[in-house]
């Protein structure tokens, strides 16, 4: 460091900018490596033979041994479970946005008695351990016939996703000046029209983002899925039921099976994640 001891002279503007740029690029690369390297290591383990997985030291390079992967794919019912997962996740997404967004709008635009209580209750749902709630819910579902249906499970996942939907839409709506809406009213729009024509386009990307949350929450949820579905098992529940007690190499293969669909899904909606940024360019 001593060789680079800074002088008190102010640096030239170009210098600072270049240095800033360098810091910026380094930070970006490091943050990307921070996210990607652990996932890469998981893939390495998945594509290694069982003896390499328990061996030491590891090379950090895959040997492209597909035994564990093949074993997983040969497990009967994977395709069906995948489909069930998608169905449940889409239902969760639709339900949580459909129910959550109006609530988020109400919280951001109105002051009314009970507002804080409502917010607290919504947040509380996240603060309660689901494994305990699963039992009363399962009993209720068996009694009313929702047991082992995608819809029933989606209801439970919606409880988990709803706070996100409500609070995220709340902060999104709060970020849109009410004057915009008021301007539309003065131009002869009624409340609904103003909402659809003015607020919706602004909010849509953020809405997609919170829908993505809902999707991934449902996608990754294990406990309720394991208790509430039997024939219509979701992929996570299907894989996870045996992962904890399986040998290491299968654990890693299972981990990959959990990760890859999520990667693909986020990749598929990246345009919308990107579109959120687009609002700032308006």
């Amino acid at each position: 460091m001593s060789t680079l001891a800074p002088t008190d002279e102010p640096r030239a503007v170009g210098d600072t900018r270049r240095a800033g740029r360098w810091v910026f690029i380094t930070a970006t690369v490091m943050l990307m490596a921070w996210v990607l390297v652990p996932i890469y290591l998981l893939f390495v383990n998945t594509l290694s033979s069982p003896s390499e997985v328990s061996g030491f030291p590891k090379t950090g390079l895959p040997s492209f041994d597909f035994a564990s992967v093949e074993f997983f794919l040969s497990f009967s019912g994977v395709a069906r479970a995948l489909w069930n997962s998608v169905v449940v996740a889409v239902l969760t997404m639709v339900l949580s946005i459909g129910i959550g967004a109006p609530a988020g709008y109400a919280l951001s635009r109105f002051d009314f008695p009970g507002k804080e209580v409502f917010r607290m209750v919504v947040v509380m749902t996240r603060a309660f351990p689901l494994p305990l709630l699963a039992l009363p819910l399962a009993v209720m579902f068996i009694r009313v016939g929702l047991d082992d249906t995608a819809l029933g499970l989606a209801f439970v996942h919606t409880v988990l996703a709803l706070p996100f939907a409500v609070l995220i839409t709340f902060s999104l709506f709060s970020g849109i000046p009410i004057e915009l809406e008021e301007a539309a009213w003065t131009l002869g729009c009624n409340r609904l029209q103003a909402f659809i024509k003015v607020v919706m386009p602004l909010i849509l990307p953020g809405l997609v983002a919170s829908a993505v949350f809902a999707f991934t929450i449902s996608w990754n949820e294990v406990f309720a899925a394991a208790v509430l579905t039997i024939e219509n098992r979701t992929l996570t529940a299907f894989l996870v039921q045996s992962l904890n007690v399986s040998p290491l190499h299968l654990k890693f293969a299972g981990g990959t099976a959990l990760v890859v669909p999520a990667l693909i899904f986020i990749f598929a909606v990246r345009k919308y994640l990107f579109a959120m940024w687009g609002i700032a360019n308006r």
Partner: protein, 281 residues
């Protein structure tokens, strides 16, 4: 007047839904925590509090949260700033940053186990660099702080993305004109960040902090993957009482504790980051 009822109408679907699928089962659990065969009792709370692991579990949970959440906030803010500033490769980088969003805590636990276990990648790397000859046992019960650090790393890795995406959407809503104005007045990037971005980001910050803190109180799968029962946390004890010891009452009592500290934290954030209606954009 229509608009007096409008907010309630907008809230009705969510309220109904929560009443059926959350409040109803929740009340049943609440009753479990405070009742025995013959009425009200504090016995389950006492059983819980007098168990030798309770204090440690509570302390570990709170400490983990107190360490993880601030680091995540800083990291998420940097990531969000990077994403909003980028000119090229924006969507790729946002995608990469957002990847952990789609990962379950179970998968994250498995991934970090591959790194920290005795024949794992960290030891392999250290051996490759010649730093060590024998693999070190990182996750042993004697090295509680290593397990603790590993959990912190894994949690930061896994759950920062969610804060980032909330903050990115929030930053997207800040009108560009504010920055332009600030630039005209010669504000440095850091000044622009602290004087424009942060204050205007308040609603999103509040949301991100509340959701993340509550989730941090429920840390479980990652802890089990990395430290087994060596590092007791509240959620792990709940699970233990519910399924291993099969005492649903004490498990319910633990749930009440988690709920209690979550409410406390939420109230703190609501107050600290209050979003006054007049002060909005």
């Amino acid at each position: 007047m229509q608009s007096r009822f409008l907010p309630y109408m907008l809230l009705a679907p969510a309220t109904l839904f929560l009443a059926v699928f959350f409040v109803y089962p929740f009340v049943q659990i609440g009753i479990l925590a405070f009742s025995s065969g013959d009425g009200f009792t504090m016995g389950h709370i006492q059983t819980m509090a007098s168990h030798w692991k309770f204090g440690t579990a509570l302390w570990n949970t709170v400490l983990l949260t107190a360490i993880i959440v601030p680091i995540q906030l800083a990291l998420a803010l940097s990531m969000a700033s990077i994403v909003t500033k980028l000119k090229t490769g924006r969507s790729t980088i946002l995608f990469v940053f957002a990847i952990p969003l789609g990962l379950s805590d179970l998968a994250a636990g498995i991934i970090w186990l591959a790194i920290f276990e005795q024949s794992g990648f960290l030891n392999s790397m250290l051996a490759g660099l010649g730093v060590i000859e024998q693999p070190i046992l990182f996750l042993g019960y004697q090295n509680m702080w290593v397990i603790f650090a590993a959990v912190v790393l894994a949690e930061i890795w896994r759950a920062t993305a969610i804060m980032m995406v909330i903050l990115v959407s929030g930053m997207g809503l800040i009108p560009k004109e504010y920055y332009e104005a600030a630039e005209v007045f010669g504000a440095s990037p850091w000044k622009r960040f602290t004087k424009v971005t942060l204050p205007l980001l308040r609603p999103s910050l509040q949301t991100a902090l509340i959701l993340r803190t509550i989730a941090a109180f429920e840390v479980f799968a990652v802890v089990v993957a990395l430290g087994g029962t060596t590092l007791p946390v509240l959620m792990g004890e709940t699970y233990q009482w519910q399924f291993t010891m099969r005492d649903r009452n004490v498990a319910a009592a633990y749930a009440m504790v988690i709920l209690g500290i979550s409410i406390a934290a939420t109230l703190v954030f609501l107050r600290l980051l209050r979003v006054p209606k007049e002060a909005r954009l």
